[in-house]
Assembly symmetry: C2
Homo-oligomer: 258 residues x 2
């Protein structure tokens, strides 16, 4: 049986949920997590504001408060994700299941929308989602599209890819239009070279998937862009979710649509 | 002949454009302006992020730089609006046509979407926009809907009102759905009392308009909310546009739609 968002978060807190979250708590928005000290928070918030396709903001916590009140009242960003990455000076140092021991009074938490959120809607419309069919993590690629910079934060846009038939591309554009806080419409389809991707079989993150005869690769902006921005800004400390192990919110997929 | 956005801004800079901007440079996004010192900027940015219906962010400038590069490359926020309000410690002190003399190196400029931007689309669809028909500023009201607070920033949501027939209400919901950066869909229609408005003939800002037999008052979130938030936060200094005298951007009304 599918878990509710609160159940997923409770199991994470208890230390009994260790899994990637695609397909979990179907119909609810999932989120990328970024935690930064207050002194870096303004520039990062401007970075997200300037790059809403890869970095659609769902919630920003009060300084020092680990509760994302808007999208998951009562939740705790220190314990309620299955897996975290700890970066120091722009280098990944540790993968952990709980960050309570290193939480600081000046930490600000950012939750950024995730494309997993529209996959249920694609499947409901009869559109195959290849990486789910093949039991894999979605393939993600760095592109040659530069995000707009803000202070020390800059990054090439990272995209996720799903192969679709032409008629499904059209329907997928319609459907994902409704999910503006989950990256919205694709940013490109067809030739990967045009956006600087040389080999679809070698994704920078996640796993390659089968592209069938007649299918077109379709590219959506991806929240992993935020992690590249952190690598480049090299903050003293930054904490993110581990890719694929997202924060599950209490708000429905299309909550932010208007 | 209708002016282009660049022409409007040039005439403001030359001191020859002194008019309210509704209906000017039709088809281009207009924006509310808020300028704050850097030390207040993070909290204000969080306030906008938490309240995207009244405060849809179009652009945030680099600290000390008066150019809004995303929505109007080459423009200058110090000179390119027809009229400014200067607030000190939360009190309106002065109305001026140029703020070059008080610009500070730590100023951050915020541009927030404006409902004037969707009025051209309503009129194109044959929907009457009463305050334009009557040559008035749009009527705006404080409501009993509390915005989400952020640091020292809090405010009741301010709304603008347009009276429409039931069939036009339906069509207006469809049309304004496309303008998520210009307040998007209405937040209420019908009984004003339900959102704390006791007298439609006495708006808190702008001017009252005629409501014909059978018409329904329809309420959209309004960027003037940001000015209330400034009154309440009482920053040492803050500068905004004068209500109705907006910044005209180079981006089309539906640029931010996806």
């Amino acid at each position: 049986m599918d878990l509710s968002p609160a159940e997923v978060r409770y199991q994470c807190r208890q230390g009994t949920f260790h899994f990637p979250t695609p397909g979990i708590a179907s119909g609810f928005l999932q989120a990328n997590l970024v935690i930064l000290p207050k002194k870096m928070a303004f520039d990062f918030l401007v970075f997200c504001t300037r790059n809403p396709k890869p970095c659609p903001l769902l919630d920003v916590t009060e300084v020092g408060n680990p509760e994302p009140e808007i999208v998951a009242s009562g939740a705790d960003l220190r314990t309620d994700l299955p897996r975290y990455h700890i970066f120091r000076h722009g280098e990944l140092q540790q993968e952990v299941a709980d960050i309570s021991h290193i939480w600081q009074d000046d930490f600000v938490g950012f939750l950024v929308g995730c494309s997993f959120s529209f996959e249920a809607a694609l499947m409901d419309a009869g559109i195959p989602v290849r990486h789910l069919q093949e039991g894999k993590n979605v393939p993600m690629y760095k592109t040659n599209i530069a995000c707009k910079t803000a202070g020390d934060f800059s990054a090439p846009m990272v995209v996720s890819m799903r192969p679709l038939s032409p008629s499904d591309v059209i329907r997928a554009v319609q459907i994902t239009s409704r999910f503006s806080k989950a990256h919205g419409t694709p940013i490109h389809f067809g030739s990967p070279e045009e956006i600087g991707i040389t080999n679809l079989d070698a994704p920078d993150f996640g796993e390659a998937v089968t592209i069938a005869e007649g299918e077109i690769p379709v590219f959506w902006a991806c929240g992993v862009t935020t992690q590249i921005a952190i690598l480049q800004a090299k903050p003293e400390i930054a904490i993110t979710h581990a890719p694929g192990y997202m924060f599950v919110t209490d708000v429905k997929d299309d909550y932010f649509t208007w």
